[in-house]
């Protein structure tokens, strides 16, 4: 920069020049450009189109008796489909919502007219292990990894998991077929 700025550029009282403004503006533009250029390299890590396309499945549940469960694979994860017994449903309905870490009624976790069916992603909301069925202190599911207990509606009751087992988007296409996803 010139040693005699008065002849070359105007200096304001606090010593800044118009050139300082240019430096800052150029650097800022460069930073924005770099951020734009970085995005494709970050976004390529997100699920690709073919991964997203495989996102729904149809399941035949006719053969699942009361008190039985099946496990199906959806988006690389297990989905539990359980045909609950009357006792399990009663137990779940009898719970006081204020006792729950993630309060949800039994009705909110099932479809009207199909209360006996419980459909959940079989992935512990703690760190993602697959809980074991008909186990734990509440007769529902128990995750062996770090000891989370879920009740007969798949709600978290004890242990480190913060949330109830997730109920995925699903619908009954007929009485014995469901569409998950």
């Amino acid at each position: 920069m010139s040693s005699n700025p008065s002849t070359v550029e105007q200096v304001s009282e606090d010593g800044t020049t118009r050139r300082d403004f240019l430096y800052i503006a150029t650097t800022a533009m460069g930073a924005v450009g770099a951020a734009y250029a970085a995005w494709p390299f970050i976004d390529q890590m997100n699920p690709s189109k073919d991964t997203l396309a495989l996102a729904s499945i149809e399941v035949d549940i006719a053969a699942v008796e009361r008190g039985q469960s099946i496990k199906v694979m959806w988006r690389g994860k297990p989905v539990f489909i359980r045909n609950r017994t009357d006792m399990e449903i009663e137990e779940s309905k009898a719970v006081d919502l204020s006792d729950l870490r993630d309060p949800q009624t039994d009705e909110e976790r099932t479809k009207p007219g199909h209360e006996q069916w419980l459909v959940m992603v079989g992935v512990c909301t703690h760190l993602g292990c697959v809980p074991l069925g008909e186990a734990g202190d509440f007769g529902g599911w128990f995750c062996p990894c770090h000891g989370s207990h879920y009740d007969t509606a798949g709600r978290i009751r004890k242990g480190p998991a913060p949330l109830n087992l997730e109920v995925p988007d699903y619908q009954f296409i007929s009485d014995d077929r469901i569409l998950v996803g």
Partner: protein
């Protein structure tokens, strides 16, 4: 760094060295041109051993990558093929798998050496912090490597560890999806882990170079923890410490060989010889032994976010150690109370490791919580206070006077005649 004075005898070599002074650099960092304190003990061998481990992992890893297939359908079988069909494949894989454990044994001893002799204190703070960066990079590398054989422990370890990030409020789930490239640990995850597992050791190499650079400005600390006062306190690195390091390498390779040849699977988990099954979690999942203390800290907290934060804090804390320890005296030799707390910390680390290996039930939960609390108390309460109240022992005049008594001034150490 005394690089300047070196002149090769051979004319051609001299011609080359004048144009690219790489021989001067070696002379000044690992040769006779690098003076080191004369009293270094065998705990100072573990730095060069860690370097050796890194080289062994890179060499065996590159060979494994020539035969390994990063795909969920083929990975497990390709590793079995390495074990059964590839010539010496079993040897190379066993060296690599056990080499990771050896690397952590060496590095943990190296770190505790630093803790005992106060090597993290001024003027070596940046050196220490670069070491913590290396530790973090090693953890990431070993974690991703363990996923590659695509056994049950690979898969579920990857699931649990990547899910740690889901604890971050708000954006956690999107971060996990980004890490996976899907809705669970799957094909894209395996492929990117392979790519990064290949890359990170070279990043580690880069940080190791910075680590050694930062070491050579102040030079090595020493068991007495006092500064070098002059040439009588030092010996040239070569031949003294090159010879001492070479002996250490021999002993280390025997130890390493015992594992590779006589108990190659003793440090691993048998479930990793079962191919990955996304529908069934093994009843008892445990990480590799070198992660157990941190795993115990994770499980000590009955809250997801809290556990994750505390686990990362356990390592992150080490960055602040140079300022948490307020004592001016470096070496534990002259700090009787610190010496006691040092050994308590070692015991605490072992207890955490044992807790991490056991299921989170019964009294293990309580023991894990107490040991976790103690770990943080050591760094956050004991160290800051101790430095202010501890009565330290008098420091010796100089390294030379402490090791060779009064003869020190009479007989300065020199390189032997060539």
């Amino acid at each position: 760094m005394a690089t300047g004075s070196y002149t090769p005898k051979n004319k051609a070599v001299r011609w080359f060295n004048e144009r690219l002074p790489i021989l001067s650099l070696v002379h000044g960092t690992l040769g006779a041109g690098y003076p080191a304190p004369r009293n270094l003990n065998y705990f100072w061998n573990f730095g060069s051993l860690a370097g050796l481990c890194l080289v062994i992992q890179i060499v065996t890893g590159i060979v494994l990558a020539m035969h390994y297939t990063p795909s969920t359908l083929a990975a497990f079988d390709s590793v079995e093929r390495i074990m059964r069909d590839v010539n010496y494949g079993w040897l190379i894989r066993y060296i690599h798998a056990n080499g990771a454990s050896m690397f952590f044994i060496v590095v943990y001893i190296h770190i505790f050496r630093g803790l005992y002799y106060g090597s993290y204190k001024a003027p070596r703070e940046i050196l220490w912090m670069l070491g913590v960066v290396i530790l973090l990079l090693m953890m990431a590398t070993a974690f991703m490597g363990y996923v590659l054989p695509w056994g049950q422990m690979s898969f579920w370890g990857a699931t649990v560890i990547t899910n740690l990030f889901s604890a971050i409020p708000g954006i956690g789930e999107s971060i996990v999806t980004l890490l996976w490239g899907g809705f669970s640990v799957d094909e894209p995850t395996l492929k990117r882990f392979f790519s990064l597992h290949y890359l990170l050791p070279f990043v580690i190499t880069g940080v190791v170079i910075l680590h050694i650079w930062a070491l050579h400005l102040p030079g090595s600390n020493n068991p007495l923890g006092i500064d070098v006062k002059g040439p009588q306190d030092q010996v040239p690195f070569h031949p003294f410490y090159t010879a001492k390091d070479a002996l250490g390498v021999g002993v280390f390779l025997i130890f390493f060989g015992l594992f590779v040849f006589y108990m190659p699977n003793s440090l691993g988990h048998p479930d990793n010889y079962i191919p990955a099954d996304p529908l069934v979690t093994p009843p008892h999942i445990v990480p590799e032994w070198y992660f157990l203390p941190f795993y115990a800290i994770l499980r000590a907290v009955p809250d997801k976010l809290g556990g994750v934060l505390l686990m990362f804090a356990a390592v992150g804390l080490l960055f602040f150690l140079p300022w948490l320890d307020t004592s001016k005296v470096r070496s534990a030799i002259f700090r009787p109370a610190y010496k006691l707390f040092f050994w308590l910390l070692v015991v605490d680390g072992v207890v955490l490791g044992v807790v991490g290996a056991n299921p989170p039930e019964g009294s293990w939960i309580l023991i894990g919580r107490l040991a976790t609390v103690y770990y943080f108390v050591h760094f956050l309460l004991i160290l800051p206070i101790l430095g202010k109240v501890e009565r330290t022992k008098p420091l010796p005049e100089s390294i030379a006077s402490a090791v060779i008594g009064n003869k020190a001034s009479a007989r300065p150490a020199t390189a032997p005649a060539e």
